[in-house]
């Protein structure tokens, strides 16, 4: 049977629907996973996360964004395990942006570590009420009853949750339910299935651009090459002549600071993506670059280095470093440079919006649905509670999709067009208009005494701060950024000074997976290996020596006034040097460190997001003399691992992500604009460059859960750089290791 589809019929959604009905294909007209409405039979919902129907159906909400870390496979399991439901029998609902879900920011590797106790309490609350309902029904004491497999049990007899739901709903919600003892947990900490695996493997998984609405149009935006640049002349004649192009709309330029605003540009709206792409290519726009039109990253690099070659503002101080350096038997100094990086997730940002009168409905691959409600509300001039934000799967985030700009664009254009609009970011949009990892220079100087002990440590740091995105003129790293490997670095050194220099921002600086840990761990862990070489010590021994003995540190012990500690109280998540020792010992044992003759190994270890990770990498030379990582060993202490497979896999994936950044990653600027435009000049690691094997072991622990998504990144670049030194005698002080011609 031949299906004919005419051009007229296929304004998006219509033609496909016709074809779909004829063939019986699934029709994804409304939202994919975004609908957080309760199943029709819900009678018991003691909190917004749990809905139990009279038919026994159990829906549990995952209110954090899924971008590969496995939250959808983990968060509902925490709740289900505590509740007493079999995770295989529950329906997972992706939560819309809603203050009732609490903090939905999916960033900072916080989706488990921050709400863990509350997530368990949510399940425990529902369990307690179902137990009470059953106890009343049977006339027995509650202490006899158990909750498991979706039912309450009294010995051999049971009542399914569905049968108790209506009664439970009438009971008061306990404020402090009792959590299950660890031995009663059946799923937390075990090997859990990947919930979205079958959908991904069959192409059914719904990402932002997969959402299709009737009459939807597609927009592609020509963007100002330089931050805060504006279009001074727009000729849309040729664009409007492209078949399928409907309209050209100029978007407003934000006033600094960027904050959560969209960046402006000229949008081409068309019937479908191809028309919009062709339309944008046919636009003739003259851009005025504005204040950042002179940004050149090669020149800026020199400014950063100048900033760290002079004394800066002191952020951490112990003893008198200058005297100690002057009196040292030997001095070792090194400078380290890390360029801007782009997240380049496989899914470029995309969002769909539908605006009807005073309400807006948005589907977006967002890491921050409540922030998106706020930004869309502000852009449209409507209250944020009148903005519904559905969260699709994210094809990678890494921090880019914490910014709601692409959703704001969709909302503006949907309002302008009067029909739903999908804004599709292209790959060059993504690389040229990102929220970049900062560009940094660091200078480290250590004084060694006659016995080779480190008696002085001076660290000077300069990079444009993320604060600049939110506060015009901010030009020194914030406490939060310095708390990522500078303020919190354990050092058994009697004289320490850490200083920051000024670095104005000329682009939108944001968060990229592990953030300032990237450059700060790169510099520190590389430098410690340089000190090992200078004193002819084994690098592992030197690292343990410099970190100092196993101990727990507080701000005073660190020589600072305040330790951000990733938003966690120090008494729950102390700065525990012993745990760092343990992962160093474990990773080096895994790698056969003490029997490494004939292999070039490098070591680095770093605490971030209250998790401890040590990495050993083995490098060889590739076919063209380039660095190749042959094998890697990773030891991670994340405290309790709720979903050990996903935690190990996050460490493994972080290794590849970080190696990609270190080998290839660089975003550079000329005349204010990003040079790179696609994977041809922003190269990323491919299968042939992946290690032969990556071994990950988790330290068994009862400590409260730490982060899993980001901590695997920071130790990787220095471990590889240290291994390269072991192989070649060449120090890598500047990344990437394989810069593209003309970029440095």
């Amino acid at each position: 049977m031949t299906i004919a589809i005419t051009r007229r019929a296929f304004v998006l959604g219509l033609g496909a629907a016709t074809a779909g009905l004829a063939l019986g294909l699934e029709r994804r007209v409304a939202a994919g996973p975004g609908k957080a409405e309760a199943p029709a039979t819900t009678v018991f919902s003691p909190n917004p996360f749990i809905q139990i129907g009279s038919d026994g159906s159990i829906a549990i909400v995952c209110a954090r964004s899924e971008m590969g870390q496995g939250v959808r496979s983990t968060i509902p399991v925490i709740i289900a395990d505590e509740l007493g439901a079999d995770p295989a029998a529950i329906h997972v609902v992706q939560g819309d942006g809603d203050v009732r879900y609490g903090d939905q920011d999916t960033d900072g590797s916080s989706s488990i570590r921050k709400p863990y106790e509350q997530l368990r309490a949510l399940g425990a609350t529902a369990r307690a009420m179902l137990v009470t309902a059953a106890a009343h029904r049977w006339g027995v004491p509650e202490a006899r009853l158990a909750a498991r497999d979706g039912a309450i049990w009294d010995g051999k007899r049971s009542l399914p949750f569905g049968a108790l739901a209506a009664d439970a709903a009438k009971l008061p919600v306990p404020a402090t339910p009792k959590l299950r003892p660890a031995k009663e947990l059946r799923f937390i900490g075990k090997e859990l299935p990947l919930r979205d695996g079958p959908d991904v493997a069959t192409g059914r998984a719904t990402y932002a651009a997969d959402v299709r609405l009737p009459d939807m149009l597609v927009a592609v935006v020509a963007r100002p090459p330089v931050l805060f640049g504006k279009a001074t002349k727009v000729d849309s004649k040729r664009a409007l002549a492209i078949p399928g192009v409907r309209k050209v709309v100029e978007l407003p330029t934000p006033a600094p600071p960027v904050n959560m605003q969209a960046l402006g540009g000229v949008a081409v709206i068309g019937d479908n993506t191809w028309a919009a792409l062709r339309g944008r290519a046919a636009l003739e726009v003259t851009w005025d670059a504005g204040e950042h039109g002179g940004y050149d990253s090669r020149a800026y690099r020199r400014e950063l280095l100048a900033a760290v070659r002079a004394p800066g503002e002191i952020v951490r101080s112990v003893g008198d470093v200058e005297t100690a350096l002057a009196g040292a038997a030997r001095k070792v100094e090194a400078e380290y440079v890390v360029p801007h990086l782009a997240h380049a997730p496989m899914e470029p940002p995309a969002a769909i919006a539908r605006v009807d009168g005073g309400r807006a409905e948005v589907w977006a691959c967002t890491q921050d649905p409540q922030g998106t409600q706020e930004a869309v509300g502000a852009a449209l001039g409507i209250p944020k509670q009148d903005v519904t934000v559905h969260v699709t799967l994210l094809g990678g985030g890494f921090g880019r999709k914490s910014f709601p700009d692409f959703a704001v664009e969709a909302a503006r254009l949907a309002k302008e067009a009067g029909v739903p609009v999908r804004v599709q970011w292209t790959r060059d949009d993504d690389l040229r208009h990102s929220s970049y990892h900062t560009h940094s220079a660091q200078s480290l100087a250590a004084g060694l005494d006659a016995a080779g002990e480190v008696v002085a440590w001076r660290h000077r740091i300069a990079y444009p701060t993320i604060s600049s995105t939110f506060k015009a003129g901010a030009d020194h790293p914030s406490n939060g950024e310095l708390g990522q490997g500078v303020l919190d670095l354990p050092l058994a050194v009697p004289a320490i000074s850490m200083q920051t220099g000024a670095a104005p921002a000329h682009t939108r600086i944001g968060w990229l997976r592990s953030v300032c840990n990237i450059q700060q761990a790169f510099a520190v862990q590389s430098f410690i290996a340089e000190l090992a070489d200078a004193t002819k010590r084994d690098p592992r021994d030197m690292l343990l020596r410099v970190l100092g003995p196993a101990r727990q540190l507080d701000a005073a012990g660190q020589g600072v006034t305040d330790l951000p500690n990733y938003g966690m109280p120090l008494d729950r998540h102390p700065l525990d040097v012993g745990r760092l020792h343990r992962v160093i010992e474990k990773a080096t044992a895994m790698a056969g460190w003490d029997k490494r003759e004939g292999r070039a190994l490098g070591l680095a270890a770093h605490r971030s997001f209250v998790t401890y990770v040590a990495v050993v990498a083995q490098v060889v030379k590739g076919r063209h003399g380039e660095p190749r990582v042959e094998e890697a060993w990773i030891a991670a202490d994340v405290g309790i691992a709720i979903n050990p497979d996903r935690v190990r896999y996050q460490m493994e994936g972080a290794f590849v992500f970080a190696w990609s950044n270190a080998l290839h990653g660089a975003i550079t600027y000329e005349r204010g604009a990003v040079v790179q435009s696609n994977y041809r000049d922003y190269r990323v690691l491919r299968m042939p460059e992946a290690p032969r094997a990556i071994h990950v072991e988790l330290v068994a622990s009862d400590a409260p859960p730490g982060g899993a998504g980001e901590p695997g990144v920071p130790p990787v670049a220095p471990a590889i750089a240290n291994a390269w030194f072991a192989l070649t005698g060449t120090r890598v002080r500047e990344l990437p290791m394989l810069p593209r011609p003309g970029t440095r």
Partner: protein, 208 residues
């Protein structure tokens, strides 16, 4: 960015390919007005010695044969090259047993039969690598000349067939319309064909 500027300059210059040198003795054997231009056979008629004229004609052809658009697919090993600096092709591809890549990464997995401007991917009918025997990368004009004449290394072609291949083959012709941001080979395909014909007529001599 500089590649794009260079392309514009090159395209602008390409039309002016047939200026004869001023008649001043001594006349250089290889008259050149513009390094991006290609001289027509007529410009070599003043070279009296037939063999010398033949060698000069081949040297002029060499401006095309040694151009990056040509040598990037006339490589000695597993990989094509790309760009004017002969970088390794990215994404990384390997030759395969039939000079057409391996499963999943065949030339025509990505390359079409025409250039794509939006996607910036070059294309021409039958996109593939020249066999290893026809390596030109890092070879001298002498070596290339010998290879072109050698039936065991030129696809068993007569000289007339070589001339036809150069003049008519569409993949060869791509070198002069390479698409987005790529500097074209000098002259035109027709002109290369005329030079080849003249070279053959004068005995198909190879430069030293």
């Amino acid at each position: 960015m500089s590649t794009r500027l260079a392309a514009i300059v090159t395209l602008a210059a390409c039309g002016s390919s047939t200026s004869a040198p001023p008649p001043v003795a001594p006349v250089p054997a290889q008259p050149r007005v513009d390094p991006t231009a290609l001289a027509a056979p007529a410009a070599f008629e003043r070279i009296a010695d037939r063999a010398e004229r033949s060698r000069a004609l081949f040297a002029e052809m060499g401006k095309v044969l040694l151009h990056p658009r040509c040598v990037n697919c006339h490589t000695p090993d597993e990989a094509p090259r790309q760009g004017d600096d002969h970088e390794l092709h990215d994404p990384p591809v390997v030759r395969g047993s039939a000079d057409r890549g391996v499963v999943g990464m065949q030339c025509q997995t990505c390359h079409q039969d025409h250039n794509l401007e939006l996607a910036r991917v070059p294309g021409a009918p039958g996109w593939h690598l020249a066999p290893v025997a026809m390596v030109w990368l890092d070879r001298s004009p002498h070596e290339i000349c010998e290879q072109i004449k050698d039936r065991t290394r030129n696809g068993d072609r007569s000289l007339a067939e070589i001339r036809d291949h150069m003049t008519k083959d569409r993949l060869v012709g791509w070198a002069w319309s390479p698409g987005w941001g790529r500097t074209p080979a000098p002259g035109t395909q027709a002109l290369l064909g005329e030079l080849a014909a003249a070279w053959i007529d004068t005995g198909a001599e190879c430069p030293p």
